[in-house]
């Protein structure tokens, strides 16, 4: 949407501010021609389908058109109320050197039903030498060639957001999802929720775009998950609490191991070792790297012992111990079902200080 800023409000010029759906100023433009001293604020009655109300902060009349997305900052469908579909809109106007943002509820026909809240933001926060001052939100795709998981047995969507740098990492999502939009809505919801609750760090349920999302927050990080099997929540909650505390850059760097760790969670039965195994899959490079045994002359003896200890065949151990292949290269996706055993094997080798 755009908002007219009359002359003398900020400077001697009249100009228009462009806002995106998050209320973020995207830029401004000078007005080429101006008729009359000041443009009248259109009245609700003078235009068709116009929803009119008064600003909760300054009592000036405001309006917007429900079928014109340029006339409001954002809209969000709310739960049905006594059989009526209600929609929330945020609408802005400029008064003095402030922008007033009103969140209102209207019904399906566009009739104004009431305010949710309103707040003022100084224009100076948005405008500095005519440049956009907020960070440009980015969709991070992870390392080159990274493809997020399209499906997961228990998780429909999993996103990792960093609000400080306005970045979103897609971990699990069906291809059709507008990730940036979901990310923005989540962040907005979080900001709203923060106004109410002192602590929302754990497992908050949010409804966004008709979908339930669980969120976990730590500092600037938000982990967003849409869980399709509620029974999975208890197990995932423990993982999410730790995952959200990781550094965003680290998560981006380790997207591939993280995908394997997430796939590991699809196994049929959970156990007390799962949390440990998940984070080992995420952080331990030894599943993915080739090893070098310090005592190559003793590899046959080590191999025999490992075969006895772990009931693992030569076809796996031979190329692994000889440094020809990593475990992931040997086992491929089977590595997931054998993760615990393989970590035991690696730890066994490591504790005996056999690696160079």
């Amino acid at each position: 949407m755009f908002v007219d800023v009359p002359s003398k409000l900020i400077c001697e010029h009249t100009f228009q501010v462009f806002l995106d759906k998050n209320g973020v100023v995207r830029g401004y433009q000078r007005v080429d021609f101006q008729v009359g001293k000041q443009r009248e604020i259109p009245q609700a009655e003078s235009r068709q389908n116009l929803t009119g109300f008064r600003c909760k902060l300054c009592d000036l009349p405001m309006n917007f058109q429900i079928d014109d997305e340029k006339s409001y900052v954002f809209k969000q469908r709310m739960d049905d109320f006594l059989g009526s579909a209600l929609v929330k809109y945020q609408v802005a106007h400029v008064e003095g050197n402030e922008m007033h943002l009103n969140t209102v509820i209207v019904d399906a026909t566009g009739e104004f039903l009431g305010h949710i809240d309103a707040y003022a933001v100084p224009l100076s926060e948005f405008l500095a030498d005519g440049k956009v001052t907020m960070n440009e939100p980015n969709l991070i795709f992870g390392p080159e060639g990274y493809v997020p998981l399209k499906t997961h047995k228990f998780l429909e969507i999993l996103l990792f957001l960093n609000t400080k740098h306005a970045r979103i990492l897609e971990l699990i999502s069906p291809g059709s999802l507008n990730i940036v939009e979901v990310g923005r809505l989540v962040e907005e919801k979080v900001q709203e929720t923060k106004k109410i609750y002192l602590n929302i760090s754990e497992n908050v349920l949010l409804n966004i775009a008709d979908k339930n999302f669980r969120i976990w927050i730590s500092g600037d990080n938000i982990l967003v998950a849409s869980i399709n099997t509620e029974g999975f929540l208890a197990a995932f909650d423990m993982i999410a609490k730790q995952l959200v505390q990781k550094d965003f850059e680290e998560i981006v760097e380790r997207t591939e191991p993280l995908k394997i760790a997430l796939k590991f969670l699809e196994k049929p039965q959970s156990s007390s070792k799962d949390l440990h195994t998940f984070f080992r899959l995420y952080s331990d490079d030894r599943l993915f790297s080739r090893i070098r045994v310090k005592y190559p002359e003793n590899i046959p003896r080590i191999l025999e012992r490992l075969k006895k200890e772990f009931k693992t065949g030569s076809e796996l151990l031979d190329p692994f111990l000889n440094g020809q292949k990593s475990l992931i290269e040997i086992l491929g996706s089977d590595i997931i079902t054998r993760a615990w055993e393989l970590f035991e094997l690696i730890d066994f080798i490591d504790r005996r200080k056999l690696l160079s």
């Binding site: 156990s271 007390s272 070792k273 005592y295 003793n298 003896r301 080590i302 012992r305 035991e344 730890d347 066994f348 504790r351 005996r352 200080k353 056999l354």
Partner: protein
């Protein structure tokens, strides 16, 4: 007790050979190892011509003349060399092959070969570490061998300590294989229950072995019990407490344990000092038991293998153990089988309740501050979350 002695013998006989034959095989191996080590450095070629002791010392660059004299005396007594007046010369052909005892796993053979090979260097003052290099792997492997298992079973048959719950210390627990087996024996007998005075502790000076003991305990128990690791983890609060610790400075309070176990440990340390420490931490009336090779039955070549590790005093006499034990508060010292299995009972007399002749004040953590009631003053809850104390910290 006589019956327990018989049970100890039975366990040893399960090794499948007569104990006499077993001993001979092992003795031949130890002798072959030592001779092979000196052959490799050219000693026996050098002794084709009679040499003065001083010449031999110079040839081998000996700095530890006492140990060299011991080696020479062993070779002489065993007629490997002969002496004519003040000169020594080779008396027999030294074989290139070393017979391997059937009962020794490859890892144990490799370990002793390494220790023997280090003896010429040891004469020059160079020690080796107990578990340096690949020795760590070999020790870990050897300690899981059937021979050590049967020796342990023999000791337990003699000491008969698992009928009652106890505070049990395994000194020199190594990789925790035996400790795990002991834990499982107590577990099988249902001794691990809230409120019971039952806890197993394992100490070893080698950090790598302690890491193995700690990290692999659930998996070991899973192997012993065929139980799933998840099921075993439910009993985590009863798991043994492993920590770095030296038997000569046991990092526990006086009279803390009901039972102290030391298998094949004493020859790696100063045995008297270790015995005093074990008696110190054992409660009055408590038991110390384990296995050791004693003279006169012990083999002198075997003894030489231990001398290469710094701090190891090597083998000692059966009568010395009895003497030290009685001097320091033991009610009785019993030894059976040639391996040998020993059992020491500490006097119940309160005069011996807290004998601390060699205790270093820095090594004693405080579990119970109430030293007037050593048996009763231990808080089980605290013991399950026992603070770790390491020497040198």
């Amino acid at each position: 007790m006589a019956f327990n002695g018989t049970k100890a013998w039975i366990e040893l006989m399960k090794l499948g050979r007569s104990v006499g034959q077993l001993r001979k095989d092992i003795d031949d191996f130890f002798k072959g190892n030592i001779l092979s080590a000196f052959k490799k450095v050219g000693l026996f070629s050098y002794l084709q011509i009679p040499r003065h002791k001083r010449e031999i010392c110079d040839f081998l660059h000996v700095t530890d003349e006492d140990l060299f004299s011991q080696v020479l005396a062993i070779f002489l007594k065993d007629k490997v060399i002969k002496q004519t007046r003040d000169r020594y010369y080779l008396n027999q052909k030294i074989s290139d092959s070393v017979p391997k005892p059937q009962i020794f796993e490859e890892s144990l053979v490799e370990l002793f070969k390494n220790y023997a090979a280090a003896l010429p260097g040891r004469l020059q003052g160079k020690y080796i570490s107990f578990s340096s290099g690949f020795n760590l792997y070999d020790w870990d492997d050897a300690l899981t061998s059937r021979m050590y298992t049967q020796i342990r079973k023999s000791a337990f048959a003699f000491a008969n300590v698992t009928r009652k719950p106890a505070y049990f210390l395994d000194v020199g627990c190594g990789n925790g294989h035996a400790t795990s087996a002991i834990w499982f024996e107590y577990f099988r007998r249902n001794h691990f229950q809230d409120g019971k005075r039952m806890k197993i502790f394992g100490i070893d000076p080698d950090e790598s072995l302690i890491n193995i003991a700690q990290g692999e305990f659930p998996r070991r128990i899973s192997k012993f019990s065929k139980m799933d690791v998840d099921e075993i983890l439910k009993h985590e609060k009863f798991f043994p407490h492993f920590q770095i610790g030296d038997v000569q400075k046991i990092p526990f309070e006086d009279n803390f344990f009901d039972v102290v176990y030391a298998s094949q440990v004493l020859h790696w340390v100063d045995p008297k000092k270790a015995l005093l420490e074990m008696l110190r931490v054992t409660r009055p009336g408590g038991k110390i038991f384990g296995t050791e090779n004693f003279y006169p039955a012990a083999n002198v070549y075997n003894d030489l293998h231990f001398k290469v590790v710094e701090g190891a005093r090597g083998l000692f006499w059966k009568k010395e153990l009895v003497k030290w034990g009685k001097e320091c508060g033991a009610k009785s010292v019993k030894i059976v089988t040639p391996i040998s299995i020993f059992l020491i009972e500490k006097r119940a007399d309160k005069r011996f309740a807290a004998s601390t002749p060699v205790r270093d004040i820095n090594t004693a953590p405080t579990i119970s501050e109430d030293k007037t009631q050593p048996d009763m003053g231990v808080d089980l809850q605290k013991a399950n979350t026992f603070p770790r104390v390491r020497h040198g910290e």
